[in-house]
Amino acid sequence: MLRVIWERLKQGHRTIAYPKAPPALPERYRGCPVLSPEKCGADCDRCVSVCPTQAIEKKGNSLRLDLGRCLFCGDCEEACSSGAIRFGQDHRLAVRNREDLMMEGRALRLAESLDRKARRLFGRSLKLRQVSAGGCNACEADVNVLNTVVFDLGRFGIQFVASPRHADGLLITGPVPANVRLALQKTYAAVPAPKIVIAVGACAVSGGPYYDHADVLSGRSDLPPVDLFVPGCPPHPVTILDGLLRLLDRL
């Protein structure tokens, strides 16, 4: 018993100060991209040709990046010799509408909070059911990590629950393989209304690397409607937390 207490003292207090203080991110972290199309070479389309998910479009002098498709792999930044595409340090990436992830010459329109009525319902207690639908276990792992002492999701009144019947919404990861559609639909149907849906990661937002596969359904209109899109591959846990707190107007 004494050893347990001694170890507890040694391990110390580990919960991060975020959101009161800015999050500590790795120096080489690839956050929100910064586009400077004016730096583009006239006939250069190297970024377009190296992008694994065709997230970049170049038309004349404009550069368009679909952040929902982006894997934040950094291949475009490496290929671009003029600095027209680079990844910044901003971890805030969550939006309410899929179109808001189309970056083209303006700042990202970050997620607005739920309306007043929904905030009254969920603002102080939001229970989510996580559904992995073809996720590779990276998004799942960095959602799960929010439950650790480091992020301590419980302090915001947000909790992942075991049954959809106990949930206020779903948090979906993965590109939704056809094989899991029925399970996803049944889980969604089991959540009592009103309910919200959060899509975490490039796969859940756009299909990610699997965007055009016949075996996956991501982005199809007959899937549950999404209220919050969190891009990334996988998004940093702070990015996911930022999205959740934005939705609840807790930032």
Partner: protein, 506 residues
Amino acid sequence: MPAQTLLLRNGQAAARRAIPVLPFSAFRETLSSEVSAGGRLASLFAWEEKPGRATLSAVVARGKEGVLSLFSTEVGDRYPSLTPECPQAHLFERELAEQWSVVPDGHPWLKPVRFHSSYSSRPGTRDNAVVAEPLPGRTPFFRVEGDEVHEVAVGPVHAGIIEPGHFRFQCHGEKVLHLEISLGYQHRGVERALLGGPTTRTISYMETMAGDTTVGHAAAYCGVVEALAGVTAPPSAQMWRGVALELERLANHTGDLGALAGDVGYLPTAAYGGRLRGDFLNMTAMLCGNRFSRGLLRPGGVAMRADGILTERLLEKLEAAFRDVRGAVSLLWDTPSVMARFEETGVVSGEQAESLGLVGPPARAAGLVRDVRTEFPWGPYLAQPVPIAVQSSGDVWARAAVRWTEIRRSVEFLRQVLSRPMTGSLREPMRPLAPDSVAVTLVEGWRGEICHTALTDPAGRFLRYKIVDPSFHNWMGLALALRGQEISDFPLCNKSFNLSYSGHDL
């Protein structure tokens, strides 16, 4: 008399025609004699060069000699199943029946693996596309009959934040008589999409094959295409791959020991393990900006900058994290209630592990001395060997103990490697892949052996790219571990394997 086979070292390429195409009876005999001589079926797959006739190729890992033995045979619509005399082939044969509509006659349990339509262009008897809506889980399950026998169905959606899969238990009271695991919910069609590659997207497929094994699969892929292109990644780049691979192992082993503690209700280690796992992921992010090594490994080398300050800071973080991991994990061994739950739970015998071809910690926990880093060393492990961690009891405790030993050895590896200079060139330009060639790589991921085999066509494109995640071998091990256990031991046994669904389902 076993036939001559093509012998390759790990990460070596050869002309495709050098793989002998044996008559089926010689193929079968060769496989049997290779396996009875201690070889292990690392990969068995079919491919079609011309539509209509499938070629079946086997890769046998001869651990003692450190070589891979390749041989092929041509099969029509059906052939006599290999599984009855070589149980290691059981899931491979189910897979090739599903992928290429080739029926292994006499297979004891021929069912779909991933529930998708056939890759083959010829109409096949097991082509799932003919089913209006192939639904995973809609298949007969092994059933135990009896008045007091009941069946428990769990999943595909589980109570935690984990991937989907269906588990069907046959129980008598609390006791599990049999567990059958039915997967396929995560099938994204990766192997089909790889045909005709590589493309700019291929590395992203590898990095998301099993997201917690990003480095493992990316390293195997880079090894294969570098061999086929005749490119050698710079020595420093190889060492950084080793660093990333061992950090991946540390993160997952630490997290899993914490989760094992959670599954037996021992909260101190559960709380610390979750945090410490993140510390190793953050060290990975120090290399490349991403906690899961996304964007780090690229054919030809690694996409990162290296300097003395980075290695110094990594070593500092490593020592701090390891100190806390040691404290957190030693609480487990000192707590009788934890040990009582770990010991003699979920036993897989060495004999079972051998005949099923288990890999990684579950195999080593059952006394099998197999680890790619020692048997088939490549790059970083040639420069800095890692000794194999082995236990013999095959229970949850043994699997946990193997992981703890591996944590210590990975830390030792990193200490050694990071104290050497690892700067200089980190990337070579890639070249086109050699036409009509074959290459195989093995990588010891944290779950066990990852095997990638690539065959190229006359244009140097992928004619076939076969991926074997360690989970593919090991799911059956979990099913066996549950036999005779209380059903409430399932979470504990499951976590002691912690297998990948996406890596299995591809």
